[in-house]
């Protein structure tokens, strides 16, 4: 690259991870990235976060795995994945052909297992690991690590001890006080936080009188949850010093900017990839327009402006008429 992408105006550095745009992808919503190359240029995505990967292959849940809800969807994939071995042998070499950072979302059933996956993935071509301690769809592990601060911290420590990569802890919204969780993973050494994973929900088929999803409950994502996600980012941003990757219902550049104003240093698009498969690239253009409109040079300048202690806020445009 002779010239930085977008003149470097969208470049961000998340705890050492250099991204050409602040936009990554929600794990599990972008496959391994390769499924989307017909629609966008992977190198114009800030980073590709791939599907949750475990030590061994996993088949996930039986029965119906997804269903739409008002402005959202429930899923109970149950972390189906081909396993770390397969990923390293077949997927990573393909991803390495692209000049884009790769974040691997990982999960295990015990802290040791998390550590083992992290160690396995401590290879060239993987730029960061994101610890999924918040999946509502697997019984062992998953949600408990995401709701008990000490359990979460233990997982983070196990991963940190086993990798030289940057470590992101992904938080669950299904807690009374997310700030406690955020502080716990920060203290345990997480380099960044990503949030939010899905909200636990369910849907009942009233004619069959049974839950629609094979796993009974599933994770709610999409625009429906955005107000909750922005609120949680807003709270955590005031409590921790490590960067936040914000997500939950981002459908367009404006939504992404909302998260950044609330304190996220980067964002991820999840469910939106299903609706608009080129969205992870498209958002960059909307961000540039926003920077122009607000006379800002770099996207980092807007991070946290809406917070109470909101560093220099920019002049108020668009006064109510």
């Amino acid at each position: 690259m002779v010239k930085a992408l977008y003149d470097g105006r969208l470049a961000v550095d998340i705890a050492g991870l250099k991204m050409a745009t602040p936009v990554t992808t929600g794990s599990g919503t972008f496959g391994f990235g390769l499924e989307f190359t017909d629609f966008l240029d992977l190198e114009k995505v800030g980073a590709v976060t791939v599907k949750g990967t475990s030590l061994e292959p996993a088949a996930g849940n039986k029965g119906q795995r997804a269903v739409e809800t008002p402005s959202g969807m429930l899923n109970c994939i149950g972390l189906e994945n081909p396993g770390s071995e397969y990923f390293l042998e077949h997927t990573l070499p393909e991803l390495k052909k692209y000049n884009v950072p790769v974040i691997v979302n990982i999960y295990g059933h015990t802290p040791e297992e998390y550590g083992a996956v992290a160690k396995k993935l401590d290879v060239d071509g993987v730029d960061a690991v994101e610890i999924n301690i918040s999946c509502p769809n697997v019984k062992e592990g998953g949600i408990v690590f995401g709701t008990v601060p000490e359990a979460a911290a233990e997982v983070v420590r196990a991963v940190k001890a086993n990798t030289g990569k940057m470590v992101i802890a992904k938080l669950s919204p299904n807690v009374t006080d997310i700030v406690v969780m955020a502080k716990a993973v920060e203290a345990a050494g997480a380099d960044a936080i990503s949030m939010i994973n899905t909200l636990l929900g369910t849907k009942i088929d009233i004619e069959r009188q049974r839950p629609v999803l094979g796993n009974v409950t599933g994770g709610l994502s999409g625009p429906a949850v955005r107000p909750v996600a922005v609120r949680l980012v807003y709270q955590v941003a005031q409590a921790v010093h490590i960067p936040i990757i914000g997500m939950g219902g981002i459908m367009c550049a404006e939504d992404a900017i909302e998260f950044m104003l609330a304190g996220a240093s980067a964002v991820a698009v999840g469910t939106a990839n299903f609706v608009q498969p080129d969205i992870a690239e498209t958002i960059a253009h909307g961000m540039l327009a926003y920077l122009d409109r607000h006379n800002a040079q770099n996207i980092s300048e807007i991070v946290g402006l809406a917070l109470p202690n909101g560093k220099a806020s920019m002049p108020l445009f668009n006064d109510a008429v």
């Binding site: 599990g28 919503t29 972008f30 496959g31 499924e35 989307f36 017909d38 629609f39 599907k51 088949a59 996930g60 119906q64 795995r65 997804a66 269903v67 739409e68 008002p70 402005s71 959202g72 969807m73 899923n75 994939i77 189906e80 081909p82 999409g222 625009p223 429906a224 459908m251 469910t271 990839n273 299903f274 609706v275 608009q276 498969p277 080129d278």
Partner: protein
């Protein structure tokens, strides 16, 4: 074979029966690429509700005019909105998706029921006029607008209805065994309700006739990314949207 997101202009739509419509949209990129058995993923409006795209089989293509045809049942939120779009409106369409039917059969028999007859229509077109026979099952005469659609494409049309109001009374299984024995078919293509597909596939396996099925699973992405549609294949996991929706009957481990 590359996929696109196209903004497709609605050319027109017409009513087939009280709950079924046929829609034509102008989308040359997809029309150029699509083969029988593939599907497209349609966003019916810009709102966040309904949120997800909806998958529909490609029921026909006119490469010269750059259009594709879909046939759909008005069943829920999105299809009700779709039924209201007008000529000139734009729909966002992602496609073509998945893999199509194997086209190497010399004497193909198509077997379908309900909206499964939509993708088979494109298949009949693909084999060329007069080169396919079709066995169709329905509940009653109400569904038999399909015969009109197949008339000019398929050679023999065999009919069954649950209530016997037209054709043979019963399901397609009332006719299939005999057709398999006497028809000289080298491949059966089936698309319809799961019980129909399973019964047809079993009958074909028994009769030693090759059989392709077109599966339907709830899909969120249609691109092989979300695993909503993943299920057990024989010896491996399969994604209906990407590895299918068309499979050889013996590949299917879980219906």
């Amino acid at each position: 074979m590359s996929k696109t997101i196209a903004s497709a202009k609605v050319i027109g739509q017409r009513v087939l029966n009280s709950t079924t419509k046929l829609i034509n949209v102008y989308t040359p990129e997809i029309a150029d690429e699509a083969v029988p058995g593939q599907f497209v993923n349609v966003k019916v409006c810009k709102n966040t509700a309904p949120l997800l795209r909806r998958p529909f089989g490609v029921a026909g293509v006119n490469k010269a005019e750059g259009t594709i045809t879909m046939i759909y049942r008005i069943i829920g939120e999105a299809t009700h909105i779709l039924a209201d779009v007008c000529s000139g409106d734009e729909l966002s369409i992602v496609g073509p998706l998945g893999h199509g039917f194997d086209m190497s059969a010399k004497k193909p028999l198509l077997v379908g029921g309900g909206l499964g007859l939509a993708p088979l229509l494109f298949l009949a077109e693909g084999f060329g006029e007069g080169n396919t026979d079709i066995l169709m099952g329905g509940r009653s005469a109400e569904e038999l607008f399909w015969t009109k659609l197949y008339e000019s494409l398929s050679k023999n049309i065999y009919l069954t209805t649950d209530d016997g109001s037209v054709g043979t009374k019963g399901t397609v299984m009332a006719l299939l065994p005999q057709l398999l024995k006497e028809g000289g078919y080298d491949c059966v293509y089936v698309c319809g309700p799961v019980p129909m597909m399973r019964a047809v596939a079993n009958a074909c396996l028994e009769a030693g006739v090759k059989c392709q099925v077109s599966l339907e699973k709830y899909m969120a992405c249609g691109l092989g990314a979300c695993l909503s549609c993943a299920c057990e294949g024989i010896g491996k996991r399969i994604k209906v949207c990407k590895d299918g929706p068309v499979f050889w009957a013996e590949e299917v481990g879980e219906w």
